[in-house]
Symmetry: D2
Subunit: 343 residues, 4 copies
């Protein structure tokens, strides 16, 4: 037997012998192998064959089938076994996924040259290695500030000129890939677009690295499947970002799922970023969650910083002031060292 | 006072007099009016002014602010008050939102001419008024069947020719609008793209009606805000579709939130569709949930039907057989009449 | 082979031959039978034997085990197969689980003789068959009204004297069983106590029927397991009540999970009650959800009615006025008839 | 004005002048003060008076009321402001809530003298300060091991004799308080009983400290309200324990909500415990989450340890081996020092 077992089918207690035979016939028609073992009430059928073709088959729709349990994982290229070691992803000259924990920071939205350049200089001094800033902004309301668009991209590039910090910014539409590639060093796919498959395929064809944020109701497996879309188009430079999921808890903006960090490190070779700013959504508690993320094993931390949160055009209530950020970096460094890493 | 009260700010007990004054100053700087009432421990400030400009302001980020409670609703064009009555939306010649409950049906994916035309004829005979079928398919895995694309659109148009049923199909990418407009009668924005704002703006500029499905973790308010995007671009022909939300329950594929039906009918003038197929994800229970949706007040019911579920390229396990569908329509008709409507 | 297959074990790809043998040895030590089939990467072991003893075993903790999938259901006495037909449960002279849909109604809390007797008379006239009312109240805050206690039980019994309606009331403490049995006709175990196993065992030894409400975060399976506790103590007169689960949606008090109705009807022989009052928590929408519950297949509907909601000591905002209730009953009756039942 | 503002009422746009007056009259009848400010479309009424009496009133049920927003927090004794500093809670001689992070550990269930004494000795050597072990076990299935009961309590007391470690164990029934008080040093109220208010009142009258675990669907506010029950009965020695909430994610047993740690530290003076074992439910990832909990600010860490997980009568798959525990303690110590604490 040279093929791995891919799926286990269990029949209903009331399944007739004809139904069981029909299931087995279907499996054979599809060019797969069926291993049958009969219990007193149920029949168990192991399906052997190439996993991709099996996944296509509507086995659960065949009469008499009680359950279908996949044995093989549904993702391949992102699976840890595919490489057997951590991948490194480079954003400009900065390496993510190695011993060093990388700090990415900046405002929610790019608002003006002074704002973005000022913040970029401040965070660089504190120890940040990558500048974030939104030019195209996904806003719940059509009446809210939608970002400066291409003008915002240009300002990000200017801030990079001045500070040397490579730039990550969000892409929201397949049509914008060309222009963003001109100015940015890393593409961000936001939580709301995690299953925008047209966009995933498009960024999968980009030469830039991609940071994929977990959707608000995406399971860890969903996140890995979305990453698989990008890798399957040829772009292996992918970072996964935990940024909080939606639960019943309303005190915090989201529920930061730090469980996902060790689980993802075990499931995939890709580097893991944590965004405590969106994960808790309360400025005074961002630092605690950044420390926790580092202790849990994150490879990079993304936080929002603004020099004047009360004038920010978006998310002011969760942005850190530059001084608070400096303090956060010092504390992060200590925890990083306690877990055998550096900042 | 001619402006409505838009927002209520409550200060922290420890807020200083300077902080309170600073809050009031900011509000005035923004051209808004502040109504101040002072309690023993806290100050309450009512903010008066045009709602849109207020929403832009990061009030919660001002020092001393404990909470900011919006009084006005964040949506305008979709609000029931905007029209004061139900809107009707036409898909081809079929009116949704009136006394008649409209049945939309068809396979998950268009697979072949025989399949789509066969199913279209069958459901028409049973009483369906609109044909659904996916040409561009959002699939969790890049290795799953992704739809026939433009070829699928052409087959849908052929099925319309034969049966007279207008066609609804999903749009996944802004780039595809032109070609879909050529063949379809209604655009569907899927749950995974409910907050793909670039796509919402694009379909807001289309001449076709749009059915917007609720995202898996979208609140009712989020759904209305996404619809507001479409209306704010000029397209008022929008249907809202409840199709189940993601919860901790794993027995069913999703949790169909029928609470959303009476709530949406009270909040908006737009017609409400319910999709019990995705809402429960188990073929044998789709009919019960279709009846419940009608009783709850839905204007249309969308279900998946397939003539050979066990050979379907997607979602076979939840599709009804044509005979089961005929039975469902008869039961739906009785419940519709019991609530003063017709099928 | 006379024993049913109870569990399927799949090993990790990296499991050694020693580990596989160790798993098989453990199974045999426990007096169970192992059916082994070996794939290229994994070994699949079917475990045959009495399900109860298998459930005890920490199989997932054995080195080399990747997954353990139960085949048998974890509940027995509540399973539909155990009886093969619907059970009827009698509360006083009223039968629940037959062709008639039973209406249970009354205030959240018993507040006074006039209040409970007045409401009981009103709902009886409208068509209710069972009177609900809380004497021991589970309140989130220790400073909220906690119910009249034994005095409330006596008032309920008086209202039964006057109207003939049997009475259901909540039990919160094992110590209270004797006194509640003296006055009530049916015990209610509330959502917050659904996994209070000491209480479940206690009511399992009662001569009164028990209505078990689903916990806010309980899966359908959890609900059935909690019911199994009651039946396993000898009390088979159990009703299951869907009353809304906790999700991210905040517009409504809970998310009424009507999917649970057809699923429970298929999984168990016990009658199903739906409580739309707690399920949506908004008075103006309770009627829509009551209709939907009937259409989905509920056997009984429990609603809160109060003659003066704005003076109610608890839950005033979701209670119906007696006139609204009369209207609801008439609408429920029509939908019941449309699905082949009566009120 | 000497009373604090307690609540803000906003009226519906369509509320009549009579309705507004009726609201104001009600407030005055209740002996409270109303501060009225009128906007163009809505009236805002601040309600001034003692918070407890206001909370009792069904204000939302009064016609014309659109929303009721509490300004005061619903809890008093647990609020941080009540003490203005951290509380220390003593379990035997061990202080929780100070600079030292306390490690609590032991098996899920007490199974035998050898088992509990062996584990107690092992964890003591590694650095644990408190022994946990269940004698009364809340199990989902009535057919699972229910704990050794009083016999288990005696074995715990013997293990304390031998090792000096004080003992924490779960109470599930008000009837068991006396016997548990005889043998244990701290009571645990489990997640499933977090809103078992009869039990909360009972342990509120105990002389022993209480560790209250957060319910699977309890908000942070719910947890604080349940703690308020205990304090309001006179027992101020309460620990709050985050142990994971129920979300849609199924890879992990629960979703450990570490956001709750800094939030609770800001909201209450009570010490915070984190249970990473139940929070993630996967042995290989417990250590990562323990480190994250310490970094987030927890005062104590509770983990499950078993000397032979594959023979454990409950939860074997998530228990650490003694050697793994020794390693965990060493890593926890380093992170504790990095955040200015000790182990």
């Amino acid at each position: 037997m040279s093929r791995p077992l891919a799926m286990i089918i269990v029949t209903k207690p009331e399944a007739t012998e004809e139904q069981v035979q029909h299931i087995i016939d279907r499996i054979k028609e599809w060019g797969l192998k069926a291993e049958v073992s009969r219990g007193a009430l149920r029949v168990v059928i192991g399906v052997i064959g190439p996993e991709d073709s099996i996944r296509e088959k509507p086995i659960a729709a065949i009469p008499g089938v009680a359950s279908v349990t996949p044995v093989l994982k549904p993702y391949k290229l992102v699976a840890r076994e595919f490489r057997g070691m951590n991948s490194n992803v480079k954003i400009g000259p900065v390496v993510i996924g190695g011993e060093e924990i990388v700090l990415m920071s900046g405002p929610c939205s790019v608002e003006s040259r002074e704002q973005i350049t000022g913040i970029a200089s401040a965070i660089k001094k504190s120890g940040a290695k990558i500048l974030r800033g939104g030019a195209f902004k996904p806003r719940t309301s059509p009446y809210s500030f939608q970002g400066l668009g291409v003008e915002g991209l240009k300002l990000l590039a200017e801030a990079r000129e001045e500070t040397g910090l490579p730039v990550i910014t969000e892409i929201m539409d397949t049509k914008d890939l060309d222009v963003i590639e001109k100015y940015a060093d890393c593409l961000q796919v936001g939580a709301r677009n995690m299953q925008n498959f047209a966009l995933l395929k498009e960024v999968g064809r980009s030469k830039l690295p991609v940071m994929l944020k977990r959707g608000m109701s995406a399971t860890i497996k969903d996140l890995l499947m979305s990453a698989e879309y990008i890798l399957s188009e040829g772009n292996f430079n992918v970072l996964l970002c935990e940024r909080g999921i939606r639960t019943f808890e309303t005190y915090t903006r989201n529920t930061l799922d730090l469980n996902a960090v060790p689980v993802l490190k075990a499931e995939t070779h890709l580097p893991i970023v944590v965004d405590p700013t969106h994960g808790i959504g309360l400025r005074e508690h961002v630092a605690s969650m950044a420390l926790a993320a580092v202790a849990a094993g994150a490879d990079a931390i993304m936080t929002e910083v603004h020099n004047s949160p009360e004038l920010a055009k978006s998310d002011g209530e969760q942005a850190l002031l530059p001084d608070e950020y400096t303090d956060l970096v010092q504390r992060v460094r200590k925890v990083a060292e306690a877990v055998g890493r550096s900042v």
